[in-house]
């Protein structure tokens, strides 16, 4: 059985303004009035621009790592790749698109390297006990037994529906509405409501279904922002956003750094600062993207902050995208408030809020590719529906999910059991780390914990963090996600996903970390 991969992408850790010409600095000369207009500003400006232009032209692409295959060479426009092409009669390098080239670049980010190593040497209790243990993928296998049981008890026929007494094939093979079958929207609305403990009811007509939350985020981005615009994202953030938003939309992500002293909660002040800085650079911010419950930290945004966020969005006339994919994976005592709840209760600008959801985390069905866009904005819904043409959910899967999600009794039992099991494992894992002197941030949700290993890194820097990450991967043989991959401004934090482990695995993981921890002291 092939090991599963997260479909997330490493971020490209260039600072966001690296490729833009810096406009601000040369103008300071003008503002401060030194040296008159020509000497003080125009000439330095001109020289400065020429320098930047020169540097930009001559900046070399990331050098390929020694183990990179030749596959990355054919696409880089500036490389003379004639000798490496296996084809005959070529006129020169074959050019693919600029975004294609940058995506196809060798995987030098820790994300990919960790992935590939795990894929080549996956831990198996019996067959490969010294393999790499995967703690880098937020996947939950704790309650799959419940799902398996439900399937065996409920679907003795195959995936086809019934048309009277006959098994009907046309319900799964023919074209269906691209934004999802209405029955599934109804079932999904009910499920989302159950996840929130019935705190709010969802309207199926405001749901657009997509093949996973990944295209859902991309679609929203295409609808709300133009090429060159930006979204503010409190960081550390889910590394996959870099793929979802940066790969094809041309929209920039501006991290709004949060600090451990605040338990990584974001502040409106910080958002405001980031907004203004972007404006000075001439970049138009079109919205804020939040993940609530948060990934990678696992904290929950308090109700008051959500209100403040809405006020801020209204003041700036921008959108709010709330990714609530972990809404059903809450094990702590904090109250989770969905954006939907706030919008139902208050007379607020509903048209600017859009919710992302999916079944990959809360229902442990990432393979089935089921995502949701929930919006109050008719124009967004209309546009998003048309865009589902590119990413609809497979019909047999829709049929299966309609059955499963409609079984509200099963869903209730599942959601409650899931939370209990996550909490148990979380407590055990965090306690184990604590014994090693590694503390985790306070979190109440998610499939991971956010561990502070800054005490173990050789230097308090990204470099030091990556050195530790490398040791953990190659010596301890555990694949964790370093904070820098999540754009965390404080070095030394690591996201450790634990919900694909069993209780027996935990002491083994702790023991392996201990080996490395000892060498770091």
């Amino acid at each position: 059985m092939t090991q599963s991969h997260r479909t997330t992408e490493p971020e490209h850790r260039k600072p966001t303004t690296a490729t833009a010409m810096r406009l601000i600095v040369p103008l300071q000369g003008v503002v401060q009035g030194r040296g008159g207009l020509i000497l003080g500003s125009l000439i330095p400006c001109a020289l400065f621009y020429f320098l930047q232009f020169y540097l930009k032209r001559h900046r070399s692409p990331n050098p390929p790592s020694p183990s990179a295959s030749s596959s990355n060479l054919a696409g880089l426009p500036r490389t003379s790749s004639r000798s490496t092409l296996s084809s005959r009669g070529s006129l020169g390098p074959v050019r693919i698109s600029a975004r294609g080239s940058s995506i196809a670049k060798p995987d030098d980010s820790p994300y990919y390297i960790g992935w590939n190593k795990f894929r080549d040497d996956p831990y198996d209790k019996i067959n490969n006990p010294n393999g790499i243990i995967q703690l880098g993928l937020a996947e939950n296998t704790l309650c799959l037994d419940l799902i398996e049981k439900w399937v065996s008890e409920n679907l003795s026929d195959s995936i086809m529906g019934r048309d009277g007494d006959d098994l009907s094939i046309s319900g799964i093979t023919t074209y269906q509405p691209f934004d999802g079958m209405m029955e599934l929207k109804v079932a999904m609305a009910g499920f989302m409501s159950q996840v929130l403990g019935q705190a709010v009811s969802f309207d199926p007509s405001q749901i657009v279904l997509t093949a996973g939350a990944t295209p859902a985020v991309e679609i929203l981005c295409f609808c709300l922002a133009d090429h060159g615009n930006a979204l503010l994202v409190p960081s550390p953030y889910y590394p996959g956003f870099d793929r979802d938003i940066r790969f094809r939309t041309g929209v920039e992500l501006i991290p709004v750094h949060c600090r451990s002293t605040d338990n990584f909660a974001f502040s409106i002040t910080a958002l405001d600062q980031a907004f203004n800085q972007a404006r000075k650079r001439g970049v138009k911010v079109r919205g804020i993207l939040i993940c609530n419950p948060a990934n990678p930290v696992g904290n929950i945004i308090p109700r008051e902050t959500l209100y403040e966020l809405l006020d801020f969005a209204r003041e700036k006339n921008i959108h709010v995208i709330s990714d609530e994919i972990y809404g059903g994976s809450i094990f702590g005592n904090e109250e989770f408030v969905s954006m939907a709840e706030i919008l139902e209760a208050e007379e607020v600008d509903k048209d600017r809020v859009h919710i992302i959801y999916g079944l990959s985390k809360d229902l442990s069905l990432p393979g089935f590719r089921t995502g949701v866009i929930y919006s109050y904005n008719e124009s967004v819904l209309a546009a998003a529906k048309k865009l589902t043409r590119f990413c609809s959910i497979s019909a047999p899967t829709q049929r299966l999910l309609i059955s499963m999600l409609s079984d509200t009794k099963f869903i209730q039992e599942y959601l409650e059991t899931n939370k209990r099991r996550i909490k148990k494992l979380y407590d055990s894992f965090v306690a184990g780390l604590k014994q090693l002197g590694i503390r985790c941030s306070e979190s109440s949700a998610g499939l991971y914990c956010w561990a502070d290993m800054s005490g173990l890194i050789p230097s308090y820097s990204e470099k030091g963090e990556l050195e530790l990450w490398d040791k953990l991967l190659n010596i301890a043989k555990i694949n964790v996600t370093p904070g820098s991959a999540c754009h965390c401004i404080e070095p030394g934090w690591f996201r450790c996903c634990f919900t694909s482990l069993t209780h027996e695995d935990i002491p083994l993981v702790i023991e392996r970390i201990q080996k490395v921890a000892e060498t770091c002291k």
Binding site: T2, S4, S70, N72, G75, L85, S86, S87, R88, G89, V94, R95, I96, A98, S101, A104, E139, T141, L144, V151, S152, L155, S156, D157, S158, I159, M160, I169, S170, I172, T173, Y175, G212, T214, P215, F222, C223, L224, A225, H227, R243, R248, R286, N317, R352, S364, P366, G367, F368, R369, S379, V380, A383, K386, L387, R389, C391, S392, S394, P396
Partner: protein, 459 residues
């Protein structure tokens, strides 16, 4: 209110075109043999419903292939969790094998070059994102699939430069036409990144002959631009000549394989559009690598991958299916086109696809685009048939219509033929006022025993 993006508010989705007006007419008033016999018959949907029975039969006999049966549930957990964008190896192997069989075994495909897309729609968009920058352009011989404007351009920003083909040489794509289009683009400072063709052709239903295909490969090779071949109808070929895939042709030619890419899907050949299986098959390693990462935006459900891995590995089933589907399409095509011939309507000679290209030039009141649209509106609104006007496929010559024939049962087909016959008859009596004429179309067409019935063997 935070305003929306250009993409959300422009009409790059193409749904305002005439192509979709017919759909809307159908949605408002769909034909049903007993409940709504006067409704619009859908002849605008290229869907293959002729072999459902074979698929249903296989699924029923092979419960282990479905993860939702007693026999298959033991793999449920592994499949539900599987989200690797490489795709299930068994799925890729089965698809590669199927693609080879669909091309008569004359070429084999490498499973590691198979990349998933959200249907062929998603796959076509994905390959554009990989090959071209916003503002770049692709040459597209016309008439071409109406939704290419959306699929290739909407979010990608890639321009389409049509290369017009016409009946004078049976819509063949000539080297001269390509060169001319390429030159004109160069003069207009449009950067052509490649050529995209659909083979077998939509809407023409014809396959490219070997020489033409070779000349296309030679053209793109000389210009160092990409060639994307949408082979979504590859296994719908029902009469000679046999289908020649670009994969076959490059085996015998000197060409830079990094420029060659195939788009495929199971929506037409297998009649499984609901499954959303799109495939990008590229001979260029970088494109495979890049495409695979982008495939996260449109992966095929693991449940579906698992089912198809089993189904498409069943050699006996596949071999029989390919033979049967070809037979049934041939029969359907023959019946429909013969029926039309009897009332003086000719179609472009075709050997593939789920449609044919009908020639109604002689029925145009004026040989203009307006004339075509006027005729089309009559057909949709009065004759109550949704056919697709040639202009929606960017055909420059008015009077051609695409008619789909594989998405309905035989009886419905008969009703459609009757209505066309009646319409043609009425049109000959052109003195009579329009209104009366059309009500008579209804009166005659909805009765099976009508004297206007076109003799046509029941299939």
């Amino acid at each position: 209110m935070g305003i929306l993006s250009k993409i959300a508010t422009n009409n790059g989705h193409g749904e305002d075109s005439a192509y979709f007006d017919g759909w809307k007419a159908f949605d408002r008033n769909p034909f049903h043999p007993t409940q709504n016999p006067g409704g619009v018959i859908q002849l605008g949907l290229a869907e293959n419903q002729l072999c459902f029975d074979l698929i249903k039969d296989w699924i029923t006999k092979n419960p282990y292939a479905s993860i939702c049966t007693a026999e298959g549930v033991e793999v449920f957990k592994d499949i539900a969790i599987f989200q690797d964008y490489h795709g299930l190896p068994e799925f890729r192997q089965a698809v590669a094998k199927f693609m080879g069989k669909g091309r008569g075994g004359r070429v084999t495909f490498d499973p590691d070059r198979i990349v998933m897309g959200g249907g062929a729609t998603g796959a076509n968009e994905l390959i554009m994102f990989c090959l071209a920058n916003p503002g770049d352009a692709f040459l597209v011989p016309s008439p071409y699939y109406a939704a290419f404007d959306r699929d290739l351009s909407w979010r990608t920003g890639v321009q389409i430069v049509p290369v017009h083909c016409d009946i004078s040489n049976n819509f063949k794509i000539t080297r001269e036409a390509l060169e001319a289009a390429y030159e004109r683009a160069q003069e207009a400072s449009i950067n052509i990144k490649g050529l995209i063709i659909t083979n077998p052709s939509n809407p023409l239903g014809t396959t490219l002959d070997r020489d033409t295909l070779k000349s296309l490969v030679s053209f793109i090779n000389d210009k160092n631009i990409h060639l994307v071949c949408d082979e979504i109808y590859a296994a719908t070929v029902f009469s000679s000549p046999k289908f020649t895939s670009v994969a076959e042709v490059i085996q015998e030619m000197d060409c830079n394989r990094d420029l060659i890419h195939i788009i495929y899907s199971l929506s037409k050949d297998m009649g499984l559009p609901g499954f959303r299986v799109g495939i990008v098959y590229s001979f260029n390693d970088t494109v495979v690598n890049c495409g695979r990462k982008m495939s996260s935006f449109g992966l095929v459900s693991s449940q579906t991958q698992y089912l198809l891995a089993s189904m498409l590995s069943d050699d006996e089933f596949v071999d029989n299916f390919l033979v049967e589907t070809s037979k049934r399409l041939a029969k359907r095509h023959h019946n429909f086109t013969k029926g039309l011939e009897q009332v003086g309507i000719n179609c472009l000679k075709s050997n593939a696809g789920l449609f044919f290209w009908m020639d109604l030039r002689h029925l145009l009141k004026e040989k203009t685009l307006e004339g075509e649209i006027a005729l089309w509106r009559t057909i949709v609104n009065d004759v109550k048939l949704n056919v697709s006007p040639g202009s929606s496929f960017q055909c420059t010559e008015p009077g051609w219509f695409r008619v789909c024939f594989a998405n309905m049962d035989d009886d419905t087909l008969q009703v459609a033929l009757n209505r066309i016959a009646a319409f043609v008859q009425q049109d000959k009596e052109s003195e009579k006022p329009t209104k009366k004429r059309c009500s008579r179309i209804f009166a005659s067409a909805s009765h099976r025993g009508s004297t206007n019935k076109v003799s046509c063997r029941r299939t």
